[in-house]
């Protein structure tokens, strides 16, 4: 891996194909949840702990600190601000992300992709061709399918760790052969939804309590693998427009305006995966999910799907206390 071209990314709306096609080495960072306080000189403590964990870890690492941010939420934008302030000599880029998936959103995002391509060419001397972008897209699609195949039958913590490994691996640097294997049919099947979780925290407590987490609708879990972003088109511009449509059409994060579609997908996936209930677990201070939860609660109630709400501070030192609640929930939904 070329250290100088490694670029950190954080939000799953990052157009990895474009970064790959530019010859950069994008790798997802998850930060260090145990040293959040290191970020206190730059970020208020009531900011998303994932954001603080990422900054805290980077402040203790040697450079370069090249990073790619998506303007997906207040937390991410503030991470960009703090990163840029802290590492002024590094490549720190902020890409906009519309909330609307419709025609204006597509125009805005396609424009952002064009802006990014120009910026990468100017800054890094990259030449992004339609062929290069198509090849990068195919490689990302292969990786996505490979994840889904490998993860089939895996549950809970091991499944989440695999997803994170795939996110963190540089392009071409991932061999999933020999990984995987079924976790076994035991446990009560549940679907886990929320934003982003520490695999050693809430998720492991679900495993320990006897749940079988069959689908992980998290931003560091299955969600980004559930939709293809393979673009079609002849020239570069057509490809970028197609890519914008694909990103806006994927399984949405709660920050998007089409939250109704997200809730429909949640119900469909819960039923398709044979889950007996849903655990909604999210990091503190994430507004997108704080406001989403009451609507999910109402929707699942109407659908007759049992729901448990858990909260995480990312380090999850309190998982032992969660066990009792999780066990009670599992007892309630046990067939």
């Amino acid at each position: 891996m070329e250290k100088g071209k490694t670029i950190a990314w954080f939000c799953t709306y990052t157009p990895l194909e474009i970064l790959d096609a530019a010859g950069l080495v994008p790798t997802r960072h998850f930060g260090d949840p145990h040293i959040l306080e290191y970020a206190d000189t730059q970020l208020h403590p009531a900011i998303c702990p994932y954001v603080r964990a990422c900054l805290a870890r980077e402040m203790r690492e040697a450079g370069p600190h090249h990073a790619f941010f998506v303007n997906s939420c207040d937390g991410m934008r503030r991470l960009y601000d703090a990163w840029k302030n802290n590492f002024p000599g590094d490549y720190v880029y902020l890409m906009d992300l519309p909330r609307n998936p419709g025609a204006w959103g597509e125009r805005l995002l396609a424009g952002e992709f064009r802006h990014l391509v120009r910026n990468l060419e100017e800054t890094w001397g990259a030449i992004i061709t339609p062929e290069g972008l198509r090849a990068a897209g195919r490689a990302r699609e292969e990786r996505r399918l490979s994840y889904l195949e490998t993860a089939d039958g895996m549950c809970g913590e091991s499944r989440l760790r695999l997803a994170m490994e795939v996110h963190a691996a540089p392009p071409g640097g991932l061999d999933l052969s020999g990984v995987g294997g079924r976790d076994g049919p035991s446990g009560i099947p549940i679907l886990l939804t929320g934003n982003l979780l520490n695999p050693a925290g809430v998720v492991s407590s679900l495993d320990r309590a006897g749940a079988r987490v069959v689908w992980i609708d998290l931003c560091n879990g299955d969600r980004s693998f559930s939709s293809s972003t393979l673009a079609e088109g002849e020239g570069l511009d057509q490809l970028l427009v197609s890519l914008a449509r694909a990103y806006l059409g994927r399984h949405p994060c709660a920050r998007m305006s089409d939250s109704g579609r997200r809730h429909d997908l949640l119900v469909e996936t819960t039923r398709a995966a044979g889950a007996r209930g849903v655990v909604y677990a999210s990091l503190k201070f994430c507004d997108s999910y704080l406001y989403d939860y009451p609507r999910v609660q109402e929707r699942l109630k109407r659908e007759g799907i049992p729901l448990l709400r858990l909260e995480s501070d990312y380090a999850d030192g309190h998982v032992g206390q969660l066990l009792t609640r999780v066990e009670a929930f599992l007892e309630m939904i046990r067939p």
Binding site: N85, D96, R255, S257, D287, Y291, Y293
Partner: protein
């Protein structure tokens, strides 16, 4: 028991949604507002009060299509298209001022809203769930200054089965960003015209008229800003902070022009109070339920001479190009994009108003303001302006840590002296 508590217990606590929808209630309130019993500090305040009472009454009695807006939605767009703007974030501040916020915040908690979310929005949601707010025909939010409005409005849209429109303001400096924003505003305008029944000609005329009024208000607002830069200007920031509602909700109305015209005239007439008080800049908002912080400032002979959200930050608009003009106004707002824009705006204000110090009130749950507060502090301190970050809550009085706030504030003020 004090008079305020007495009034609250006897009347305000007994408010019901039915009261707010009754003609008699609004007639009484408007009469009280006009009566000699109401003696505002500034004549202009009578104009803004009368305007907000009228449009709020109209919203409750559904005298026109009601459009809920967040702070950066330009009121010119709503007023110019014959709709009634309703700013629920400001309504939450009014509810907090009346001491009623805890009741509605608790209501939103019962519905599953986390105490880690912004209390302006939790209060608004609680009010909406209990039927205390005027029913929206449409909810219009822009994606700044914060995530909360597009997200909380989605819940209200579902509650009232009303459509929600979100406008994506592109990042500053993007090619075609202004045209993209103008296009979205034009689409939203068509929806508003559909609600009010405006024809294309009426749309054009209405918007041109609203932009013209907004330009005239801007002219007087800039006069007010110049007058406020004088030493010991008599308008104290603790009172001026409420003018955020005028800046957000009155631009495009006759009353917006009249408010700033009267304020400028009165500031010029009253002149300067003299004295040697220290000058302070206030960032973000204040606790709406209490004046205690400002009493401490008074005790230390410190005055708030400028506030973050009550100043103009746009150029006069071209009434013949309403959408591009409005796109320029909101797209260029200092809260749009990276925090360096906000920090630079505040540094510039601090310089223009020759402040001796600055306070950033860290409203709990506000990721956009608290999130960037440390960078703002760095920028101000780099230019020699001591800055205090004060944690608190603007709406929920139960989260006001009086002892801690007083101790930190007093230590800061002593250091300024």
């Amino acid at each position: 028991m004090g008079l305020l508590e007495d009034v609250r217990d006897r009347f305000i606590d007994k408010l019901s949604p039915a009261t707010l929808h009754s003609r008699l209630f609004w007639k009484t309130v408007e009469r009280l507002a006009r009566s000699p019993l109401n003696r505002p500090q500034w004549k202009a305040d009578r104009v803004s009060l009368s305007y907000f009472l009228r449009i709020t009454r109209d919203a409750y009695s559904r005298r026109g299509p009601v459009v809920w807006c967040n702070l950066l939605v330009p009121s010119e767009l709503i007023i110019g298209l014959g709709c009634i703007p309703f700013y629920p974030e400001m309504a939450a501040a009014v509810v907090a001022s009346a001491g009623l916020a805890p009741r509605f915040i608790d209501r939103s908690a019962e519905a599953g809203f986390s105490p880690d979310a912004c209390s302006f929005h939790r209060c608004m949601l609680g009010c909406a769930m209990d039927g205390f707010l005027p029913e929206p025909d449409l909810l219009l939010a822009v994606n700044y200054p914060c995530d909360s409005a597009p997200l909380s409005f989605a819940h209200v849209a579902e509650l009232y089965d009303a459509p929600q429109v979100i406008i994506d303001i592109p990042l500053p400096g993007r090619e075609a960003g202004r045209a993209l924003l103008a296009g979205q505003l034009e689409d939203a305008a068509r929806r508003l015209a559909g609600l009010s029944g405006y024809t294309a000609g009426e749309m054009e005329k209405g918007l041109a008229g609203a932009l013209d009024l907004s330009n005239r208000a801007l002219h007087y607002l800039r006069e007010v800003e110049e007058l406020r830069k004088r030493s010991d200007c008599t308008l104290d920031g603790k009172d001026a902070m409420g003018n955020i509602s005028v800046l957000a909700g009155c631009m495009g109305s006759e009353e917006g022009v009249e408010f700033y015209r009267l304020l400028a005239r009165e500031l010029a007439e009253r002149g300067c109070a003299g004295g040697d008080s220290l000058r302070l800049m206030w960032m973000h908002l204040k606790p709406w339920y209490s004046q205690k912080i400002f009493n401490i400032l008074d005790r230390y002979n410190v005055r708030v001479v400028c506030e973050e959200y009550t100043h103009s930050c746009w150029e006069p608009m071209d009434p013949r190009e309403p959408f591009l003009s409005l796109a320029g106004k909101i797209g260029g707002h200092f809260l749009v994009g990276p925090v360096e824009r906000r920090a630079s705006h505040l540094a510039s204000l601090a310089g223009d108003y020759r402040v001796d110090g600055a306070i950033h009130y860290n409203h709990w749950g506000c990721r956009q303001s608290c999130g960037g507060a440390l960078q703002v502090k760095q920028a101000l301190q780099a230019m020699g302006v001591p800055t205090l970050l004060l944690d608190g809550d603007c709406v929920d009085e139960r989260e006001y840590q009086e002892g801690q706030i007083s101790t930190r504030l007093e230590a800061f003020l002593e250091s300024l002296h």
